[in-house]
């Protein structure tokens, strides 16, 4: 196959990484959601390219699924939530931003080092991107750790999912159909339940600040 799709996919990968960093550094929650949607878009594009270049039917399907879920449905739910809870502003992160970004950088390097030998083995064209996928997962994880607000933790959670899908798509041209469906379903249900929870938290603690959720502990 031509090197064009490969370059395109690598570009997508770079974009994904960039978007993750953007999310990590972003304070306003709504913007984070937008970034998340953008990430979903890039992801579906990359899957589409892969499908198109390798003529794998089920990849088209999963591309569509991604588009539907991660670009349309989930961001929609999130935005509505944020509006209903007017939670559209983030206080300071637990760590100050520069150090968070620095840690993120280190994580990316670590992820590359980790993925290097494995992507050697990959038979797929797109194997080089595994490292990026791993990096995306880790950055999302870091974001969950550093944020104080429930909503941005949710966003981080979803972003992890993205990295995962990307890894699946890039290393093995996607997971088996049944699994993809299951994962999609779970993410959707999970998202809904999270939404419910945000409301519960809201009505219990009059705020979405996680510092209220620290009463159960060993004293």
């Amino acid at each position: 196959m031509a090197s064009l799709p490969l370059e395109l996919i690598n570009t997508c990968a770079a974009l994904l990484l960039l978007l993750s960093f953007a999310m990590l550094s972003q304070r306003r929650v709504l913007t984070q959601v937008d970034l998340y949607a953008a990430q979903g878009l890039v992801l579906s594009v990359s899957i589409f390219i892969t499908a198109w270049s390798t003529h794998q039917l089920h990849l088209y399907f999963s591309c569509g699924l991604t588009l539907l879920l991660k670009v349309l449905v989930l961001p929609l739910i999130l935005r509505r939530l944020i509006h209903r809870l007017d939670a559209n502003w983030e206080t300071e992160t637990l760590l100050n931003m520069p150090s968070v970004l620095l840690i993120g950088l280190l994580l990316v390097m670590f992820a590359f080092v980790l993925a290097q030998p494995i992507s050697e083995l990959a038979t797929t064209l797109t194997h080089g991107t595994l490292g990026i996928a791993l990096a995306v997962v880790m950055l999302a994880f870091l974001m969950m750790i550093t944020r104080r607000k429930a909503v941005s933790q949710v966003v981080g959670f979803l972003a992890m999912e993205n990295g995962l899908l990307f890894a699946a798509a890039s290393t093995t041209y996607g997971m088996p159909m049944a699994v993809e469906l299951g994962v999609g379903l779970d993410v959707l249900v999970g998202m809904i339940i999270l939404g419910i929870f945000l409301f519960h938290i809201r009505e219990q603690f009059e705020s979405l600040d996680l510092s209220h959720l620290e009463s159960l502990k060993e004293d």
Binding site: V113, L114, I145, R147, E218
Partner: protein, 667 residues
């Protein structure tokens, strides 16, 4: 598999019978009549049967049996040899007396329902039976822990009282600790064969180092149950807490079962022998004996006093065990057999005498509702049966000839007299040190027993209500009588007893003591020239002299006997407050052995209108050993709690760091 299985099957059947009795008790679990009057006597019959089985088994060879239950790879093995047989006799005979006593003892409306109590009681008996019969590690541990568990429930049958809960908790905790050590010792003992039947353990080859580890683990595990210092703290708490028949069983039988375990491991399972094991055991025994008797002497609660005296006796038993090990490791089987005989003999003595005394205190408790020595006295007038039968137990524990307690001490001292022949310098110096410690303990035991008996049964009643106290019932008398006669018989016919016990030495050490002379009248385990003691003659002599004197006095001088109030230096009447209190009686001990005790005194000032004197004695070891452990555990727990402060980001960080660390690790 040698021999027929008749005796072993009989023993198993008796164990099953006990369990059945326990379950039957649940049918009408609230009827004292059914459980007490109907079931317990039957249980005591089974006890007699068990003793008989044991005696028969002593004559015959080893029997083994495999039960179809247990792990698929490791079904329960049972084995009946001379050692087990001796302890079967001990268990059966004691249980017979205690059960028949208990039949009359339990009253309605005390703590746990009688049916449940009966179940726990008989499970306790059966589990002890199976401990003695067990022939593989798993079934041994099963029976062992069931024993601990059932006795725990018996101890806590009055669980409404907080101090009894504390006692039970401490007891079960230390028992669990000991059990862990025992499991560990079995695990080391198998030495790579990974077979846990006792045959396999016997066959295992161990280096002295590993063998020593086994020895120490077993010493710890069984010592915790037997109550050797410093693992004794639970004993004076738990034994008094239980109902008296249970205290009798725990002190009289369970402690000896622990000794059985140690004998089994050291003399039977462990093939390797290291000479200093015996020294360690003997040293611990001496320490325990002295510690126990000193603390017993300063107690003011009669059951605590007896419990501490049990600690002392266990110490004496350990001394004998230590001597056995020493002689055995220096290949002096004959002497080892003598020491072993002394050990086993003392086990039997302690079983009978101590359970007799505990039952006696039970009757006193029922009659007066008092355990505090300071509120008793003069009961010999009110409850003559208990008093006179308890006198037998008192003399036996005090090691007074011609009663049984003296026989074992005599044997022990005799075997001490052979230590100079040990071909190793310093070890042969045991005689002055060990023997003197032993004699000191024995002499103190006499002091202690005078205090116990004199204050409880003699003198004047220290409380008015004691005047209403009544003697014990018929069944209780029967139980006391049974145990007392056991004490007397063991005292008067040591030769015959030794002829039976000797089988154990024959089996485990390949040597035995000399056969009895003169139809067993003369007791000379080594040789008549060397040492001889004939309790029968002794008793005969005393009796003859007493009779003669009485006769002569009656014939020659027939002066009248006048009763009068005792003279108390002047007009004022004699009041109970004038007699010595238990604190007063133990004052010399407190003064002489002050460093042993942790005392808190409240002395009245000379100008005190209502002078009030109080002395409280505590165990130093508790503060030296146990408190620090508890504190450190709490500290670690607090430190561990620090990782869990409730913040979810921190938790996520934990997961993240774990992930990174593992990734780096596999990288």
């Amino acid at each position: 598999m040698t021999g027929t299985h008749t005796e072993l099957l009989g023993a198993v059947a008796i164990g099953g019978g006990w369990l059945a009795i326990g379950v039957l008790g649940l049918l009408r679990s609230h009827s004292t009549g059914w459980v007490g009057r109907a079931l317990f006597p039957f249980g005591s019959l089974l006890g007699i049967a068990l003793a008989a089985v044991g005696i028969i088994a002593l004559a015959h060879g080893v029997e083994t049996l495999i039960l179809p239950i247990g792990l698929p790879e490791l079904p329960f093995h049972l084995r009946l040899d001379a050692l087990s047989a001796v302890f079967l006799v001990l268990l059966g005979a004691t249980a017979a007396g205690v059960s028949i006593f208990a039949a009359g003892y339990f009253r309605p409306g005390e703590g746990t329902a009688p049916g449940l109590l009966g179940l726990q009681y008989h499970v306790f008996l059966a589990s002890m039976l199976f401990v003695v019969l067990a022939d593989d590690a798993l079934s041994f541990m099963m029976a062992w822990e069931s024993m601990a568990l059932s006795s725990y429930f018996l101890v806590t049958s009055q669980h409404r009282l907080p101090e009894i809960r504390k006692a039970g908790y401490l007891y079960l905790l230390i028992a669990h600790l000991g059990a862990a050590a025992i499991v560990l010792s079995f695990g080391v003992m198998q030495g790579g064969s990974w077979q846990f039947t006792f045959e396999a353990l016997r066959a295992a080859q161990l280096t002295p180092a590993w063998a020593s580890m086994v020895f120490f683990l077993a010493l710890f595990g069984f010592g915790a149950k037997a109550g050797i210092v410093p693992l004794h703290v639970w004993l004076p708490e738990a034994h008094p807490a239980a109902p008296s028949p249970v205290s009798a069983l725990m002190s009289g039988v369970m402690l000896e079962i622990a000794v059985y375990g140690l004998l089994r491991v050291n003399l039977d399972l462990l093939q390797v022998q290291v000479w200093w094991w015996g020294l360690v055991t003997l040293g611990l025994g001496l320490l325990t004996a002295l510690y126990g008797v000193l603390f017993a002497a300063v107690q003011t609660d009669m059951k605590r006093l007896l419990a501490y005296s049990s600690i002392e006796n266990i110490g004496i038993i350990f001394i004998g065990l230590g001597l056995t090990l020493i002689f055995r490791s220096f290949h002096m089987p004959a002497f080892a057999a003598l020491a072993l005989a002394a050990t086993l003999y003392h086990c039997l003595n302690h079983a009978f005498a101590k359970s007799l005394l505990f039952l006696g205190t039970g009757s006193v408790l029922h009659a007066t509702g008092e355990r505090n020595l300071g509120r008793l006295g003069g009961l010999i007038h009110r409850m003559p049966w208990v008093a006179w039968l308890a006198l037998v137990g008192t003399l036996a524990i005090a090691g007074i000839p011609p009663f049984n307690g003296f026989v074992s001490e005599w044997l022990l001292l005799q075997s001490f007299l052979f230590t100079p022949f040990i071909p190793r310098e310093f070890v042969n110096m045991l005689l002055p040190l060990g023997a003197s410690g032993l004699t000191l303990a024995a002499a103190l035991a006499a002091y202690l027993m005078v205090k116990f008996y004199g204050i409880v049964f003699l003198g004047q009643p220290r409380e008015a209500k004691l005047a209403q106290s009544h003697d014990c019932g018929r069944l209780e008398r029967l139980g006391l009588l049974w145990l007392a006669s056991a004490c007397v018989l063991l005292g008067i016919f040591p030769a015959q007893t030794l002829a039976l016990i000797g089988q154990v030495g024959e089996e485990l050490l390949g040597a035995t003591t000399a056969p009895p002379l003169w139809h067993g009248l003369l007791f000379a385990p080594i040789s008549p020239e060397r040492a001889a003691y004939s309790p029968a003659l002794f008793l005969l002599g005393i009796a003859v002299f007493v009779g003669l004197t009485m006769l002569i006095v009656r014939i020659a001088y027939h002066g009248r006997i006048r009763r009068a109030a005792p003279w108390v230096c002047g007009g004022f009447p004699l009041t109970p407050r004038m007699q010595d209190t238990s604190e007063g009686f133990s004052q010399p001990i407190r003064q002489i052995f002050e460093p042993f005790f942790r005392m808190r005194r409240e002395l009245p000032s000379p100008f005190d209108a209502a002078p009030h004197y109080r002395v409280q004695i505590e165990d130093r070891i508790w503060h030296w050993l146990y408190v620090p452990v508890v504190v450190s555990v709490q500290w670690i727990a607090r430190a561990a709690g620090m990782i869990q402060r409730g913040r979810i980001s921190t938790y996520l960080l934990y997961s993240f760091v774990t992930l990174l660390v593992l990734l780096i690790w596999v990288l």
